[in-house]
Amino acid sequence: MENSRLIVSPSPHVRDEDTIHKIMFAVIIGLLPVLIAATYLFGFNAIRLVVLASIAAVVTEALCQKIRNQPITLWDGSALVTGVLIGLNVPPTLPSWMMILGSVVAITLGKHVFGGLGYNPFNPALVGRAFLVVSFTLPMTYWTTPFDAVTTATPLELGPQAVAYPDLFFGTIAGSLGETSAFAILIGGIYLFYRGVLDYRIPLGYLGTVLVLTTILGLDPLFHLLAGSLLFAAVYMASDMVTTPVTPVGRWAFGIGAGIILVVIRIWGSLPEGVTYSILLMNAATPLINRWTRPRIYGQGVSKNA
């Protein structure tokens, strides 16, 4: 007798519980402290921009998949993550239509032109942000203080003597919605690390390199870690799985490389901030890094009489 109801599938018959869906929603949970901090600091503007960016990203994803005749996979949560990330990466006063446009560009040019989830070489949210910065430079560099929304400059433009460390740490400074509160970012990052979706190598390599280089250059290393979007990007963007190396050594190389580029841009470049380009450039180097940093294979390169 053959039992026709039995499933005949290849081994392994058991799997780890984590799925793409669970990983993406863990990232969303990891972003909650930052969302709460942004709302507290910048009020309705934070909600307006993040919600608009998210809806635009999710709708664009569905449209792209429809046009490409692909199954609609909104449930995997990846478009939502991109939307929330780009929403947190803009100044609080950005006009709504620009936000929507940035999100649409992130999903189309950042993701679906390359084939969708898993095929994009560049971090989609950063592609969207880079597009916004070059297209709408003024609104993208128009900064206001938290709570009372008075026009000001960012700490990176003002320099270390103009800002107090507690303000930098808790985020009561001008900046993009999600980047100002180091405190919230650290809570989110620790959660993601313990949840097993954040590899420590890239954030540590990135932050460590900036720390070392700014110290060598005689700058204020703590200021450079806390000011600007470095910490936010190190935790949520540089560590994006799809666009970073798969090898352990490669992940160190990625973080260190991004750190070097960032310091070069911040110190000698014409931009006050270089996080976006430091990560996008390292994204471009990722296939090469993967090739150069393959792990040592068990049984390779051991002597016969070991």
Binding site: P10, Y298, Q300
Partner: protein, 443 residues
């Protein structure tokens, strides 16, 4: 206790051993008929030594081959040969098999009692071959071939890791048959001229560790090594790294670094074979999973239909989604419940819908979990992709042949990609391509 482990990759996975790990081995009465496949091992199939209508005795050799890499098969009941025909095994393959109707007498063939102290290494190897000993962990590689290596071997390692989830047959044997296990280990050591014996056991089997430590205390050359709980520690190369800290070269056998690895059950069966002349006609099988009424470790005759074994365990409870032959990481899905228990079947698992997961093949998000988990240091994401596109020459350069097929890459993949299935296929294609190439050169 400081537990050791291997150096790269691997992962703790839920082991689900609670249903059977404290249950003593129970002996199942011999069934009315047994189906003895003439190939239950890697190597040449046996030719039948009996014909239909012959009377056979319990333990009698009924199939044999003149090749070197092969292993004879024996009658697991006494009775009459009622057919010699192709029978369907658990994975659906057809193999020439001898079916014996049990006369219920268990009339044994005259057996010899021996002691290893009076046997030479050569005699031991011959006895092990005659008794049909093969690796009982899953591969079914003939033991006499393994112990006939030309390379000098100084250490015999007993694989007590039993890292596959659900399975507890080796655990129970270590607890209940510790003396036999040590005797088997010493037999293997004598057969290969090894001076050291190591039993590596994962620390989720503390009772086995304690019991065996007590037994080996009086043996200078023997040692029990506690291992961390980490899959795939029972893979030969990982076990050698963990237990004796030696690394087997790529493409080489353990003998290259002076090691011989044996499964627990194999060593126990060897001891029973040498001491009491019992050929390999029975084994312990773990029957477990949500959908069996009474999960247990069963001593069962080779050739018993799986359905009869399940009935002995109270029968199927509800509707299993998958029946696995062996462990859930590497064992095949069972398609035929009337198929016989064979020598290398360590478990029968009746898993429910919620216990299993299948390939979904969603896009790779390059999370690198497979790279981090691979105990061989490979890049399964790339090897899987290359294999699925049949670009096996590129895969060869990335050392696809070093894959030990532990399936951990597929296990950890959040996109549920069938990585190990693709890689296995890629390895096969590569071997075929290589042999075609050699043929071409020869012509």
């Amino acid at each position: 206790m400081l537990a050791k482990t291997f150096s790269r990759g691997g992962r703790h996975i839920p082991h689900h051993k609670g249903a059977t790990n404290s249950k003593s081995i129970v002996e199942m009465p011999a069934p009315k008929k047994v189906i003895i496949p003439l190939q239950q091992h890697i190597g040449a199939p046996c030719d039948p030594l009996v014909k239909v209508g012959d009377k056979v005795k319990l333990g009698q050799k009924i199939g044999e081959s003149l090749h070197f890499i092969t292993s004879p098969v024996h009658a697991s009941v006494s009775g009459e040969v009622i057919s010699i025909a192709h029978e369907k095994l658990l994975d659906g393959c057809q193999v020439l098999s001898i079916v014996i109707a049990n006369d219920g007498l268990d009339d044994p063939i005259a057996s010899k009692h021996r002691a290893i102290s009076k046997l030479s290494a050569k005699q031991i190897r011959k006895i092990i071959k005659d008794l049909g000993m093969v690796g009982l962990g899953g591969a079914g590689f003939p033991t006499h071939v393994k112990i006939s290596s030309a390379k000098p071997i100084d250490t015999v390692v007993i694989n007590g890791a039993e890292c596959e989830p659900y399975l507890t047959c080796d655990h129970r044997l270590m607890v209940e048959k510790g003396e036999e296990l040590v005797y088997g280990l010493k037999t293997l050591m004598k057969a290969v001229g090894a001076s050291r014996g190591v039993i590596g056991i994962e620390v989720n089997k503390l009772d086995a560790i304690a019991g065996l430590q007590e037994i080996v205390r009086s043996h200078e050359a023997l040692e029990v090594v506690a291992l961390q709980i980490r899959y795939p520690q029972g893979a030969e190369k990982q076990l050698i790294k963990a237990a004796v800290d030696r690394e087997v070269l790529s493409g080489c056998l353990p003998s290259e670094v002076g090691c011989l690895v044996s499964n627990v059950h194999t060593a126990v069966s060897i001891a029973q074979g040498i001491r009491d002349g019992i050929s390999l006609y029975q084994r312990v099988v773990t029957v477990s999973g949500r959908h069996i009424h009474d999960p247990r470790n069963v001593m069962v005759r080779i050739g018993t239909p799986i359905q009869a074994l399940l009935d002995f365990c109270g029968g199927i409870n509800g509707t299993p989604a998958v029946v696995v032959g062996g462990g859930p990481m590497t064992g095949p899905a069972v398609v035929n419940l009337e198929a016989p228990v064979v020598k290398n079947l360590s478990g029968v698992l009746l898993l429910g819908e919620d216990e299993i997961a299948q390939d979904e093949n969603l896009p790779c998000i390059r999370c690198a979990r497979c790279v981090d988990a691979c105990p061989m240091g490979l890049t399964p994401n790339i090897l899987g992709l290359l294999s699925s596109r049949d670009e096996v020459v590129k895969a060869e350069k990335l050392h696809i042949m070093d894959c030990v097929e532990c399936a951990l890459c597929s296990y950890v993949c959040p996109s549920r990609r069938g990585l190990v299935s693709w890689i296995k296929q890629g390895k096969k294609s590569l071997v075929v391509a290589k042999s075609a190439e050699q043929q071409g050169e020869a012509n």
